[in-house]
Symmetry: D2
């Protein structure tokens, strides 16, 4: 931590700051420049930098060590590659997850999975517990949904991902699901994160609607701090002033995250845009920018979907898109797993 | 719901839209203007308007009924006044909640409460379970914290509020706490909201960092839909591009909410700004704009606080501020309860 | 325009609204639903919809005709293709503009242009008048800069673009420049836009930092309303809460704009991210998403650049990137012109 | 400037950075901590910090001197008080500016000014050149408007403010106007700012819709750097994701600006909210938070206003509000001038 004193700070004020940080368990290195005295505070303790900023004569306090450790490339320079029964995500392998917003029935899942499997998709998605902004909307099938998901996936030899919303749902998810999804609204549900740190299945951690990249990485740190090293980040759009799309998909988060973290980063173009005809261009953008995977909503019959039909692709649309994405991946020397 | 057709929409396309909405359980009223045909869809069913927007020839779909009902002034024209053992919030009565960020010890709470009580504060706050962005920070005293809070409050005949973070903590809170607080990060934890709808104690519902006012009201609707009619809204700053304050306190949310809802709205200037010297001006602004209450962080010794000391007022600062706030309230013909 | 009355609106209130809009020059069509009466106001007059919203008994006023006309696909269904001396932008042709932030000297421009020309770039960029946030920064060479730009471009048979900042600079730009650029800060300099509507050279209109897509299109409308039909839109990042990149490049603006407007849309990844190592991934994302062109900062020696060296590519980096972009374009069946 | 090296930075890398900054005209002070070497760069030159951030082994570069000088309290500790013919703004004196959005006719201005004067308002506003998002809207009366404004103000012995949009309009404004207003869209029209620095009349500088407080102060610096020391800042709402109000009025900007700058800061609640019934609460909030003035739209007959009638107060509404504001000011020991 660097403490920059105001240009007119007296010796006495400097001394007081030095005493303060020593009391808090830090070493102090004073360096006097032409204009400003700068005090380096060295130590491993955690301190709220505002406490120092409020001391007399302090101009600014600058944190120089990152708040996250395990998610950082400093800690682990090489890309993390998640490997689930041979299906790889990260390090040049692009994962493709597809499926409907909600599990509605066995027939719907079977019809959808059969198509996706035929196109080469290896991971099936489908919501069983749905977070809905209105108390009057369809809330999901619950455990029944997870059962259907598992049974259909087994039929086609696919993996399965679904969103876990509560700590007490974790045992259920461990039984049925290969990748546990944490939704955008739960990105800072710290108790849930802590508990997911104790299991040993991969977590797909969506970015909160208004979460900075640093906060997002801190949430991944929560999971990793518990011992679970398999975290997949997932960008799904941030909230901005622009309302022509539901959210603004932050494609630049891909190279930013890949520089500072070793974790794979996927993109969800369906929730980001909220509109079917924007899914294809944004999927292509994500792959071209270097994303480690995509999670796309596809429904065997979007017109009758109980949820988010408007952003779900028709199976044939998805097939065309997937072919194009494979060709783009080849150009940048990656490949879909 | 109004469906505006494109100006060149054919009879056939119009017919198809009419069929579609009838199938979904709505009545259709077609009105042909010079430029555009407009179809009114009348009914009580819930439908994703994007499903209609994707139909051929549709230009735009406009929802004309609000998504919330119970929170609306249409449903209940008069201000809701929360009355807890004679302490009133709403309808001209301004509530004042004060206390430290976290309960740290009996001595700290007692010293703080003794001062606050002497200034006329009737409701004490203090966190027992703390949501922290870093897994390496102080996480609160848990039930022990709630016990201390209750025992100190009883000593000074005060009410108590604290943040509940999980469904399974609710019984504990019912035992010790008068007002249950829902934090900004939990504003869309729908399962928690549903469960809080089933209890009969007032809920202080903070606005999420990036929640629109409509989403916030929908979360209040979740609670009210369960039968709990005592919801207090609490504005605590929204996330914007400006980083000189931690968040941007949206003072204009006060008159906006008061126009469309009968629920009282409080303001938390401490978390919104994150800096002690901004708490006084923003508290005064909130009262002048018509807020129904304030929740302010005060610590008997902010310099040693385990959490958020930088935004906590010294007891004497608070005393001066409270006196000024009472004078401002008088001008706008309200009073602190 | 549709005027939705409140559910309890009396006959008298409805009558008053009808009178009001008739007075303003509109025809009124009243349609009475189960819950709400809706009044359609038909006419060509301009009216501030808030004037109606303030009338007694009105719930909401909805504009159903777009505020822009000439920029819309309704007005012109086919893609506009800008053709400057055989170099095409739009309708499947991707334009590539490259060059340094500022024109610094003949030698610098010559060295840069020589390389770019050898890579196949046909349009050269370079600032002569620079908008700088600090009054103490380098402000550009002025007319001397434009002369250098023109003379170097002529040497390599290239086109030239540069930013015009004031109405009285227009004659100068007409003399030296092929495409006139309007910077993000001038996107709503309406007087400048009006004057650019009267010339007959293409305008590259950057999106303002906090401009909605609708406002951006309205600014293009200003230019087109004057008779200049050659407008190229340019997305260059919007301001959001995320500060790890200078701005957030809104890639989704590409398909959104292409759906509602016939105008070509380019992307400026250099200003959007502000960092050299983010330029390549974002350029690829833009092309994959369907952008009609890119404008990229390249400097013969970024380390000595007087301005924005940190976001300028080295010539060799650009060469590699351009090759990759051509391969991506091929996959989506477009080509660089 | 402080340059923080990565924890594993070699001696060689440190040496290269030191050389680089010396070459750029800075002195270097190297300070080696346990984890990180920090290099202090001391000097008066301007350098883009990203140029250093891109050097090998550099983790972060931190600017420690503010980019603004003249606007800062370090430069001038006491409040600037603008005094125009005895009417004071700043340092405990609250200025009140009122009047219609646009000058429409002599009769309209006379009727409005007569009322405002009778309520004690000393400064009249009125637009003559209007920036309009649509090319099809009313654009103002031009010089004729300024003449009317002046003549009416003289009749009632009032001061006058109006928005200047272009450099070449300055002479006209010097002739008719006492305070020249710079609109939000022109906050970074650097050429205009530079030219306003050369005149000797007060400038009311509105904050841009997406301008950070730092950028806003930099724009004030442009004016002051030219020798014009009379700048009044004016907060008028920033663009956020919330759309229930036109913009989000950033009340916290008042104490933030007052801490770092000596310049007075006013608030425009009319443009910030865009709705008449929100003007009163936000005006009260601004005064309570310590604003040095208000600029409020009042029209003798808002229902017939050619522009922004929906956000204009009726004269009687304004009279009531002004009385209440005076009582609030008294509580915080300030007074309207």
């Amino acid at each position: 931590m660097l403490i920059v004193m105001q240009s007119h700070a007296s010796e006495e004020k400097i001394e007081k700051v030095v005493e303060f940080i020593k009391e808090k368990g830090f070493d102090a290195h004073v360096s006097t420049g032409e204009d400003h005295t700068v005090i380096g505070a060295v130590g491993r303790k955690i301190i709220d930098k505002r406490d120092i900023e409020l001391l007399d004569g302090v101009k600014e306090v600058i944190r120089i060590t990152s708040p996250y450790k395990l998610v950082s490339r400093v800690f682990k320079p090489d890309d993390t590659v998640i490997d689930i029964k041979g299906i790889k995500i990260g390090g040049g392998n692009i994962g493709m997850i597809a499926g409907p917003c909600s599990v509605e029935s066995y027939e719907q899942m079977d019809a959808t999975a059969q198509k996706l499997h035929s196109y080469g998709v290896k991971i099936l998605r489908g919501g069983a517990f749905k977070p809905r902004t209105s108390p009057y909307s369809f809330q999901g099938l619950g455990e029944e949904g997870l059962k259907i998901l598992r049974s259909v996936a087994d039929k086609y030899n696919m993996l399965v991902t679904s969103e876990v919303m509560e700590v007490n749902q974790i045992p259920l998810f461990l039984k049925y699901v290969d990748i546990l999804q944490v939704g955008a609204r739960n990105m800072q549900n710290f108790n849930l994160l802590t508990n997911l740190g104790e299991i040993r299945k991969p977590i797909l951690l969506k970015r909160g609607l208004s979460a900075t990249i640093e906060e997002w990485l801190m949430s991944a740190e929560y999971i990793m701090a518990g011992g679970n090293r398999e975290v997949i980040l997932c960008e799904r759009g941030i909230r901005t002033f622009e309302h022509m799309t539901r959210n603004t998909l932050d494609i630049s988060a891909i190279p930013v995250v890949q520089k500072i973290s070793h974790l794979p980063i996927m993109v969800d173009p369906s929730h980001a845009t909220g509109l079917r005809d924007k899914v294809a261009p944004m999927s292509k953008a994500a792959v071209a920018a270097g994303a480690d995977g995509l999670i796309i909503e596809v429904h065997n019959n979007p017109d009758t979907a109980l949820c988010d039909g408007a952003q779900s692709l028709y199976p044939e649309q998805f097939a065309d898109l997937f072919a194009e994405l494979k060709a783009l991946a080849e150009v940048i020397k990656k490949n879909f797993s």
